[in-house]
């Protein structure tokens, strides 16, 4: 019995080890190819090139309607969400399959977040928040595929997301509570003399919200990808000694997987907090 269990663990860890080894080899090959494409031996590291918006079918001009790599990876994002949330739940099983479990997990996770943070009356807005969460999560994760493109690393995308949240939450606040929404800036629990000063501070912090909301996401994604690319460039230029930067890339990659999920979570929970302020503006 005991020997059997140790045997199983041994086989498992051996399998894991082999998988990690394969992964490392594949990663090294991809990095090597990438470095070659950028110019091998010149140590020409251009970490920001990966963020360039390029037309998909040749040409140099990027008009508003041109299909670009942005279009392609946004499409991949839609496809992966469709695969997870629609194909995964195809069985509608009472005892879920793995894919359905993941879809239900994501659903329950965000729904509970909305309910806990913003309250039960925020549940009508759950589809919008879930859309934002799944979009950011899938775009972040897809961006971690070597040689891919990360829409969420662009201010154009995150600013639109953050401004959408900001404007809709503000409009919602005024629609729901009228002028009472301004109570958000009038801290009634503070001494009367302090309240005007606090109101100014609250007002400034309210308008800084979309800035921090968007810059946080784009900055985190951009920085992580740039660092990955810098290390990958080293790996391409250092010959045999490139083992060290490859290990660095592996470590940072793991970190980036975490960051991708956490940034999606942070964006979503902040949206819930802003929504709560709009629905319950009184301190």
């Amino acid at each position: 019995m005991a020997s059997e269990s140790t045997n199983t663990t041994g086989t498992q860890s051996k399998g894991n080890g082999r998988m990690i080894a394969y992964g490392l080899v594949a990663l090294a090959a991809v990095l090597f190819a990438l470095a070659y494409a950028d110019g091998y031996g010149k140590l020409a590291i251009a970490p920001m090139d990966q963020f360039k918006v390029k037309p998909l079918f040749g040409g140099d001009t990027v008009a508003w309607y041109t299909p670009t790599n942005v279009t392609f990876w946004l499409g991949m994002s839609i496809l992966s969400i469709f695969a997870l949330m629609v194909m995964g739940t195809r069985g509608r099983a009472v005892i879920p399959s793995r894919g359905q479990s993941v879809a239900e997990l994501a659903y329950g996770f965000v729904r509970k977040m909305v309910e806990d943070v913003a309250g039960k009356d925020a549940l009508p807005y759950f589809p919008f928040i879930f859309t934002a969460f799944l979009f950011i999560l899938s775009a972040n994760f897809l961006g971690l595929i070597p040689a891919s493109f990360t829409p969420t690393s662009h201010f154009a995308v995150t600013v639109v997301l953050a401004l959408t949240v900001f404007i809709s939450v503000t409009v919602l606040g005024f629609v729901k509570s009228g002028a009472g929404f301004l109570g958000l800036f009038w801290v009634s629990s503070a001494p009367l003399a302090l309240r005007p000063i606090l109101a100014v501070i609250e007002l400034i912090s309210y308008f800084v919200r979309p800035v921090s909301h968007s810059v946080r996401l784009a900055g985190a994604m951009m920085a992580g990808h740039a660092v990955l690319k810098v290390f990958a460039g080293f790996a391409g230029a250092m010959g045999l000694a490139s083992v060290a930067p490859i290990l660095g890339v592996v470590a940072i990659y793991g970190l980036e997987v975490l960051v991708s999920a956490i940034q999606a979570y942070v964006f979503t929970i902040l949206t819930c907090v802003y929504l709560k302020d709009a629905l319950h503006p009184h301190h």
């Binding site: 251009a46 920001m48 090139d49 963020f51 360039k52 918006v53 140099d60 001009t61 990027v62 008009a63 508003w64 309607y65 041109t66 670009t68 942005v70 279009t71 946004l74 499409g75 994002s77 839609i78 969400i81 469709f82 949330m85 629609v86 739940t89 509608r92 099983a93 009472v94 879920p96 359905q100 879809a103 239900e104 659903y107 329950g108 759950f126 589809p127 919008f128 879930f130 859309t131 799944l134 979009f135 829409p151 690393s153 662009h154 201010f155 154009a156 995308v157 639109v160 784009a218 951009m222």
Partner: protein
């Protein structure tokens, strides 16, 4: 116009592509399309489906729990009935045992009484017979004594005639004494 801006940005060399405002309309256009698509996929297909599945699961769970509760109730009832039947059977058994014991006791008493009667009857009979035998023995002793005394008298004093009744009275007085 846009073309000019893009060319200018590209000519500016490596900078942050994020700040290349010429690509903004393009990105925003496609982003809005993607977000609308995702929203439609989720709100039209995925969310109702998942909500239905979760509700169905909840319903199934509740139903199963109720059924389990019912079955448990029935099991408790069945156990109570079993225990009651057991207790009844035990009481019946002890009653039958008591009755049987009482019947046996009665039989036994009757038999003992009969035996006692027989024994006492036998004892009385034996007593009578013993008395008879004793009386018979006494009489025989008297007869033998009378004969012996007659013989002793005729041997000691031949020719002396002893009256039988005198002899009998003397022997009787002697035997009694």
């Amino acid at each position: 116009m846009a073309q000019d801006a893009t060319t200018a940005a590209n000519a500016a060399g490596p900078g942050m592509p994020q700040l290349d405002f010429a690509t903004f309309p393009n990105q925003i256009f496609w982003l809005v399309i993607a977000l609308v698509a995702i929203y439609l996929i989720l709100s039209r297909i995925a969310l109702p489906r998942i909500a239905a599945v979760l509700a169905e699961r909840q319903g199934t769970l509740t139903k199963d729990l109720v059924a389990a509760e019912e079955l448990k109730q029935r099991a408790v009832e069945a156990e109570a009935a079993y225990n009651k039947a057991l207790a009844d059977a035990r009481a019946e058994a002890s009653k039958i045992a008591d009755e049987t014991r009482a019947a046996i006791q009665a039989d036994l008493d009757r038999a003992i009484a009969r035996a006692d009667d027989e024994i006492s009857a036998k004892a009385v009979e034996s007593e009578t017979r013993i008395t008879e035998i004793r009386a018979g023995a006494l009489r025989s002793i008297e007869e033998v004594a009378r004969d012996v005394v007659g013989d002793i008298v005729s041997a000691v004093a031949p020719g002396q005639k002893v009256d039988d009744s005198t002899l009998a009275a003397a022997v009787a007085a002697r035997v009694k004494g």
